[in-house]
Symmetry: C2
Subunit: 289 residues, 2 copies
């Protein structure tokens, strides 16, 4: 029997509740946001992702009640993340998180995996461009901001705005940063804006000047650097929570992501899995609610 | 030999310069925006469309120098539109348009077909919701506005904003209008905003109050109606023209669209063609410039 990979080991540790904290930097594989919705809202949510692919890059949709994914064939999405959040009628029920969602993931619930910025952070680090929040002691969570940029609405999901993450770089290296992150197309890809002018365009300049984040932790813009902004996987979560949909919604606990088996740099394998999703979608496609 | 279809007849009339004006309402098939760029910018433009699919729904990319598409196998994209525009270094060279672009479409030029709102206008009409600009005597071009909503940049295409078209409806019928247009996913799909609050969100409320359009012709919001806004195919044209890229860029002349053979209501056939494009893309994929 082959030895388990780091990703398999980590998921097993989550399943047995021996790992219950952040997954940051723990595997060389793609990590993902998890959202679990009542099936009546699945078509709207898929449309939301399709219409806003930069902030909401959909990697996988499960059939109702089937908590698995080809991104990690041995994984059970109900137990293999460190911690989860449970929402009822849009209100968080579990401020400390829970260790599994076996009882909450009903036969009517559909799971969605959404790309996150982990993969490109590793690539930036390797290129000698480590994000400043990873260099803090202790490391901080990346600063995130609600922008004034509206999402393209889809079905029941109206009124959302793009959430962005911020990392600062010298102006002379912004093109290099764009080039590196561009190839992570399902993990937010290249930045959505940069420089203080970009901060104005996104409507976050004042919050930036005051060091006031909406999510994550504040990290100063480095001396001689400018802010660079990327689409952020918190976007679809906020859109869902603020949409007023009723019922039980489940998600990962912040920082406690789903860890896949697909190598972070392997966009080709990721694309082949997402294409398989497209085929499933065709078979099961229906109108948005 | 079977009789030519209305679309084939119209394209032949364009090729022989006997039809040189708008294609509005002349065929029951999907019509499309045409943009032709130097091949060095093709990867950036494909990425721009992928990252902004609501305003820039890409239907087809040609190989360099090959002005054909499976959306209309007998068509020559250099001759079969009524009129064209020619730009040099971002400056329009042909304010009156030209009848073909046989000499300008070089072996290095790549053509892009982008969805337009024609198909859903027919569907709205059939549902008893004809857009007001089609009811004017004579019919007007739909009012269009530059919004303050930034596009997600891609490669050389930075700094663009979403352009929207506007049609007004009674507030009580907006959900019906959303439902009807939602299924035209490659032709801008459901609205991006509605109501006067939506106009504020898009940054177009003041222009709306002053009856000041950026493209097309002003049409009053009907008594007891509210404005409804859709993504618009003028978006990628404006993004390209304002990007500062050099060289020869070609496009359709406003209102003089490419007429395909695919029935407007046949999103399934359209999807199968676009999927074929994805396969071509994989074979020919490269980094953005």
């Amino acid at each position: 029997m082959p030895l388990p990979t780091p990703a398999e080991s980590l998921r097993l540790a989550c399943r047995t509740n021996t790992h219950t904290t952040s997954t940051s930097l723990l595997t060389p594989t793609i990590q993902a946001n998890l959202l679990v919705l009542p099936s009546r809202h699945a078509a709207s949510f898929r449309a939301l992702c399709a219409r806003n692919p930069v902030s909401c890059p959909l990697l996988w949709t499960t059939p109702p009640g089937a908590p698995t994914t080809p991104l990690a064939p041995t994984a059970d999405l109900r137990t293999d993340l460190p911690k989860y959040n449970i929402y009822l009628d849009g209100i968080l029920q579990t401020p400390e998180g829970v260790l599994d969602i076996k009882n909450e993931w009903s036969p009517d619930h559909v799971g969605f995996l959404i790309g996150c910025s982990f993969s490109f952070e590793t690539a930036l680090e390797r290129a000698g461009l480590p994000p400043r929040h990873t260099l803090c002691t202790p490391p901080r969570t990346v600063p995130m901001f609600r922008t004034t940029v509206p999402l393209c609405p889809a079905g029941v999901f109206t009124g959302g705005v793009m959430v962005v993450s911020m990392r600062s770089y010298p102006p002379g290296r912004v093109e290099e940063v764009r080039d590196i992150t561009r190839r992570f197309g399902r993990q937010h890809g290249e930045p959505v804006a940069w420089g203080w002018e970009g901060a104005e365009t996104l409507g976050v300049a004042e919050k930036m000047r005051e060091g006031r984040v909406d999510f994550g932790e504040w990290v100063e813009v480095g001396e001689g650097e400018v802010p660079v902004f990327w689409g952020c996987g918190v976007t679809p979560q906020v859109a869902v929570m603020e949409s007023g949909i009723g019922g039980v919604v489940l998600s990962h606990f912040p920082g406690c992501m789903f860890v896949s088996d697909v190598l972070a740099e392997d966009e080709a394998e990721l694309e082949s899995v997402v294409k398989a999703l497209d085929v499933v979608e065709e078979v099961g496609s229906g109108g948005a609610d």
